[in-house]
Assembly symmetry: C2
Homo-oligomer: 406 residues x 2
């Protein structure tokens, strides 16, 4: 089995494995003056107000073929990304009526309903209030839906790319609600977006008073329009749809408003014909991003198995990796500092000997919850709904090193 | 003095202050059905492969007027950013011969000199090796140079915008050097970039074997060309110039190579005519980003003082803020989890009563080092060199709320 501890990773044994990995490299004669590696020798381009990506970087979000690209989703290329931050331009999208074009000078947030002092906030008003910055994931509850009964997607992006992670900044909703005075009968909030369909969800007041955020910045900068510019509701650990973008109304109510997206959509139909409703929390999940479907291991020898784990219920406590289809497991290294309800990067050194192999991972979060197998998930919830698929994901490695979703 | 503890921030006293801050807002009649706030009502734009910023977001890097924009610098708009992550497109630049256009397929890193097995690595080779992701700042040692003797820059961006912070991913240089076998007489490395001037620096072997990184990713995505695409040397806490971009050669040597940028540049001339050389470490520093020069406090009442602190020697342990020009100090709240050698966001609630005020901050790092006043810095190092200005920065607030660098 692979080594897992820091001290072992830096031992000669690991280096022997690395030697194998880079055994095919261009080694120079020791002692000779090696030629300087290539590179341009003419004056380069100039400083600029804003840098774009290299023209050689062509990895983008995946857009499914659709006749309704305003009511559609795009997926983050998780297998191409490093660390835990998703670039804002590559954060997954799920829009129900397209991306509105909002001038922040004219944008207002109305907070009303069962509060003592209903109030309209401008963006300047909100930015003046106490703020926090947190690293948190957002995941569509439909993420992995295509994997529910049979693995059909070829890559990590296609299978589980409706999840991303950013540093978000905004005003704790609690600060605003406490300031305006929530009345005793106020048990829910209704949050509505300013897109054409007025996408809206109901959220328990306990969540609103816990870690809900009126977020106006993402990864240092203002939100991108596709992420709700100039204001979105961030509900850490809750299913993505509740993180209402282009937020313009919050109403404190005594009951949920039974909006379209919490009745006909985003409910989980069980085998007995009943449906689970308001299944907000996203349970612990993990995904090996490298090697993953569509990639190929170049050579025998050292391979660093890399992946992401996250839980809507707090910190990731443990990620185990199997290279034999779940027969045996090894603890992966978790990269700190850890953030609750955020992507957690895990890594495990592995020596690939050229055999076929089945890789998979399973996460445990701080509540002690262990990510289930897909069979366990189907046993508990049936096959009527494809929301909330957090089951273990496997990748199959063929003898030629190619990786597939088998 | 302002309140500083969490429990006090959420007390009614703080909310009373907030009430004052939002006293001028549009309050609705309690109990009435308030009108829905404005917003577009037509179908928005579609999903896309990659999101850009909103057209209403015009904050960019500052570019000084220059006839040599290939040999120049641009500055990060620190006063407009939130959290600790600098968007890759807004990371400051300092180029000596422009930005080379490098196809990563053709890019190679030669590691030679006093190693047992000189080797050429392709980018694919490097990406296969063990990796780490770390949040770290990069700062030009010339940052704040204009503030050395007299505050001349009107904004935080102009005064101290040659500093940025990202999540970087790459291969620990130690892994490569241990694999290739550093010979006993190897005491330094020479790192060279593939830009037209072959910008190069010498670095002690101890740093190379400590936390030096062969970085290929920034904030999840590949490096931007302006940050060294496809490979840069990251030397956490060392002056920015040593973090060689477009890295293509590392040579292990027995002594420093005395390159241009460690002899005629990036040395600190002292009053006695001697110069400090190889002053790599960036000492603890802090900067209030809001309210800061060029901004204006809108109203009397609640103001959240926000800023950034960082140290090249490890964690920030404490940030103190003064609103009376340094007479008295209050501890700001540091936002965790903390990263060593990274931006640390600090915040302090304040009630502005309309008086003129002088704001400043001072950071203490985990070594116990306290950020000096500019007078202390000049007393120690004179006025011949304007590198390494980490002195306390003040902003003056006038009775009309306008903030200046006085």
């Amino acid at each position: 089995m692979p080594e897992t501890k820091d001290e072992e990773r830096s031992s000669r044994r690991t280096f022997m494995a690395l030697t194998a990995a880079i055994g095919g490299l261009a080694a120079c004669e020791s002692g000779t003056e090696a030629p300087v590696a290539g590179g341009p020798r003419h004056l380069g381009s100039t400083i600029s107000p804003y840098s774009e990506r290299s023209k050689y970087e062509t990895t983008t979000r995946f857009m499914p073929a659709t006749k309704t690209p305003e009511q559609a989703s795009s997926r983050t290329p998780l297998q191409e990304l490093q660390g835990i931050i998703t670039p804002s331009g590559l954060h997954f999208e799920r829009h129900h009526a397209g991306i509105p074009d909002i001038d922040p000078v004219n944008h207002e947030l109305l907070v009303h309903g069962l509060v003592d002092r209903p109030t309209i906030f401008t963006m300047d008003d909100l930015k003046r209030l106490p703020s926090v910055s947190v690293v948190r994931f957002v995941e569509c509850s439909g993420n992995g839906g295509s994997e529910w009964t049979a693995p059909g997607s070829t890559t990590a992006q296609l299978a589980h790319g409706l999840a991303s992670c950013s540093e978000w900044t905004g005003v704790p909703l609690r600060v605003v609600l406490e300031e305006l005075g929530v009345q005793p009968e106020g048990r829910w909030i209704y949050a509505e977006g300013a897109d054409a369909c007025l996408m809206a969800r109901s959220v328990p007041i306990e969540k609103a008073m816990d870690d809900a955020l009126l977020a106006y910045a993402q990864n240092g900068d203002a939100l991108r329009p596709a992420q709700g510019y100039p204001l979105r509701l961030l509900l850490p650990g809750y299913e993505g749809n509740t993180n209402v973008k282009w937020l313009h109304v919050i109403k404190v109510t005594d009951q949920p408003m039974m909006t379209r997206d919490e009745t006909s959509k985003y409910t989980d139909l069980l085998p007995d014909g009943k449906a689970r409703q308001f299944t907000f929390d996203l349970d612990a999940k993990s995904l090996i991003t490298s090697p993953s479907g569509g990639q190929k291991i170049a050579d025998l020898g050292f391979v660093e198995i890399r992946g992401l784990a996250w839980s809507g219920r707090g910190l990731i406590e443990r990620v185990e990796v199997s290279v034999d289809g779940g027969e045996t497991w090894a603890d992966a290294e978790l990269e700190g500092p850890l953030h609750p309800k955020a992507f957690t990067r895990f890594r495990l050194p592995w020596h690939w000997d050229g055999s076929t192999a089945v890789l998979l991972s399973r996460a445990t979060d701080e509540t002690g919850y262990l990510q289930p197998t897909v069979d366990q998930l189907i046993e508990a919830r049936g096959k009527n709904s494809n929301y909330h698929n957090n089951s273990q994901k496997s990748w199959t490695i063929a003898a030629d090193g190619s990786v597939s979703n088998a």
